[in-house]
């Protein structure tokens, strides 16, 4: 059965200018670093797609481009039919984006912030109240709804950020390292929730360097190294012969030896 493509990434490239200090640290002579180069992949509606790669591979840069926080040098991506280059505002209204870099203002309460972000997304008051009740009780935020973010525990802050990134009930959810820095209990809450979202028919794109997370959650996986998509396939196909970890390291060493891995897409 042909699956519906909801996210189509086409030849995305992004270079960053390096400062002299960075050049020295990375021992390179070039003034520019290619963070992402000619990256293409697609995600289908209702699946969890994992971007797997070591630190500095370009995962975060890719996700930030898709969230229209930064602009690609070339290439484009269609997010539910909207172009990240031409319709950034429309793209932003269709996605929920969560990363640990996006912080909530310490001064406000989860309740206030939920309302504030809801109105930025144009959510009706009735819908908002119903959604807030449901989400707050799902994550146990209701008890802390009127406590300032500054006084919440790290886990509760993270849960509040998660809930607030989804105030508009988006169909596409982009998570950068969703379980980073969380304790096991909160991490479990988040992964369980991702599964629930998938059951609701949402499409999830997440980046991680944790194999376990990919094996538990993802339907399809793209392995990124040095800004390039090395492998993009279903989890089942990738783990047919060996574990994901073994597969990853075989590709990684192949890359290191300069042979290049096998690029395939299903």
């Amino acid at each position: 059965m042909e699956q519906e493509t909801i996210l189509k990434v086409e030849n995305l490239s992004k270079t960053f200018r390096l400062s002299r200090k960075q050049q020295r640290l990375q021992k390179v002579k070039e003034r520019q670093k290619k963070a992402v180069s000619n990256l293409s992949f697609s995600a289908y509606k209702g699946e969890i797609f994992g971007l797997l790669g070591p630190n500095g591979a370009g995962k975060t840069t890719t996700l930030r481009m898709l969230a229209t926080l930064i602009r690609p040098d070339s290439g484009d991506a269609q997010v539910d039919g909207a172009s990240i280059m031409k319709q950034p505002e429309l793209v932003r209204s269709k996605i929920g984006f969560l990363t640990s870099e996006l912080k909530l203002e310490n001064f406000f309460t989860p309740n206030y912030l939920f309302d504030f972000f809801s109105s930025l997304y144009g959510v009706e008051a009735e819908v908002r109240e119903e959604r807030k009740r449901r989400m707050f009780s799902r994550f146990g935020i209701d008890e802390f709804a009127e406590v300032k973010v500054a006084n919440l525990s790290t886990g509760m802050k993270q849960k509040t950020s998660l809930v607030i990134s989804l105030v508009h009930d988006p169909d596409i959810i982009i998570f950068d390292e969703p379980t980073n820095g969380l304790d096991v209990i909160t991490a479990r809450t988040v992964t369980d929730f991702l599964k629930e979202l998938k059951q609701e028919g949402k499409t999830i794109l997440l980046s991680t360097h944790i194999f376990d997370l990919v094996e538990k959650l993802c339907d399809r996986v793209g392995i990124i190294m040095d800004g390039q998509m090395i492998v993009c396939d279903s989890l089942a196909a990738l783990t047919e012969e060996e574990s994901l970890e073994d597969k990853f390291f075989r590709i990684y060493q192949g890359e290191l030896a300069g042979k290049g891995g096998q690029i395939s897409e299903k």
Partner: protein, 392 residues
């Protein structure tokens, strides 16, 4: 568009007004502090002045008969002493105990003075020795008072002509004009400085602070347009900056009479229309100041850095604001009113000295609004620039 702009502004207001500490430090404290400080300084000055009115203890040697009237004069407590006591009195003056001043007349002062003719004699004029101690305020005051009195006596003795001796009212300027002049010199600077410092605190906190804490990025992933964010911040911060400026201004206005030492009935001097124009000038200026500080704060990575980067702009504003104190009044040519900040200071100088044209105020308001518009456009561009917004 409108609703998102409103949402951003509402949040900025909530952030500010729901925080009692911020309201206190930004709005209540500046005015209160200025009022208390100026009143205190004013009281200090007037106390010093009243101290001066105390009687000076003056010792005289050979006080001439014609000058015995000094003894009854207000402010002078004259004690005649013999020549043998002068050394003791000098010691008293040096140590600041007892006498303030020692005045030694020549023995035959009256005759010598009467006989002296500046046109004919080659002899020096009779000399009066006055011993004083300038490190003692009492002694120095007594010295000044005594020399002034003796100068007057000298003038009276050899009177050739008088200046302003009749009862006519020679000062043609009214007290109103004088007050207006003092206001025109001092107030534009005070208003600009208070407006600037009020705007600086809140703007750098709201923009560089949000950048530093990573909360502005959270706003940038929502469908909120960069322009709405820029304009929303500018308008709400201007309103708060204006309140802070008003508080400082009110504090100044209420304590200024105490500081300067004369009673100024402000309500009589400026009409409601004057105030309206002043408000127009101040409002449009606030938007320009907040816009400029916003742009600088957006460049900065932290609140601290923003504080440092704003200093040159602050000095520039200060320099321009001091200009009216050098006198000259407001400029006449309308095109000078196209230059932001300078135009505001000139307008205020004109308004306070009651010598302004509607054209200059209109040009100022127009120029400031255009300038603010350009700054919003620049800010919008900057909010969209990844290099500026995520340059950690």
């Amino acid at each position: 568009m409108k609703s998102n702009l409103f949402t951003v502004m509402k949040k900025e207001f909530a952030r500010f007004f729901k925080d009692p500490r911020m309201v206190f430090t930004t709005i209540l404290m500046p005015g209160l502090l200025i009022y208390v400080m100026y009143s205190f300084m004013g009281n200090g000055f007037s106390e010093m002045a009243s101290e001066d009115e105390e009687e000076y203890r003056i010792c005289t040697v050979n006080l001439p008969q014609s000058l015995k009237v000094f003894q009854g004069a207000e402010g002078f407590d004259i004690r005649e002493i013999g020549e043998d006591e002068t050394e003791t009195v000098k010691e008293e003056i040096t140590e600041g105990t007892g006498a303030d001043l020692l005045v030694v007349f020549p023995e035959d002062f009256e005759e010598a003075a009467a006989a002296y003719d500046v046109a004919q004699t080659t002899e020096p004029a009779p000399n009066i020795d006055i011993f004083y101690n300038s490190s003692e305020t009492g002694s120095y005051g007594a010295y000044q008072a005594m020399t002034a009195t003796l100068d007057a006596v000298e003038d009276a003795m050899a009177n050739k002509f008088d200046v302003n001796a009749s009862d006519a009212d020679y000062e043609l300027g009214s007290e109103k004009d004088m007050t207006a002049m003092v206001f025109a010199m001092v107030l534009p600077m005070l208003i600009m400085v208070f407006l600037f410092s009020g705007c600086m605190a809140i703007t750098s906190e709201s923009i560089a602070g949000e950048k530093e804490r990573g909360t502005i990025a959270t706003l940038l992933v929502t469908p909120l347009k960069r322009r709405e964010l820029a304009l929303g911040k500018l308008l709400s911060l201007s309103a708060i900056g204006l309140l802070s400026g008003c508080s400082s201004f009110l504090g100044t206005l209420l304590s200024l009479p105490k500081l300067i030492g004369f009673d100024m009935d402000v309500s009589i001097r400026y009409s409601a229309v004057d105030y309206l124009w002043l408000l127009v000038v101040i409002l449009s200026t606030t938007i320009v100041i907040v816009g400029a500080i916003s742009v600088i704060s957006t460049f900065a990575k932290t609140v601290k850095e923003a504080g440092t980067m704003v200093v040159p702009l602050m000095l520039l504003v200060l320099l321009v604001s001091i200009a009216p104190m050098l006198g000259g009044g407001a400029t006449g040519e309308w095109y000078w009113y196209l230059v932001p900040i300078y135009n505001s200071v000139q307008c205020m100088t004109g308004l306070f000295s009651m010598d302004y044209s509607i054209v200059s105020i209109a040009v100022t308001a127009f120029a400031n609004i255009v300038c603010a518009g350009l700054l919003v456009m620049l800010l919008t561009k900057m909010f969209g620039s990844e290099r500026i917004m995520y340059n950690q």
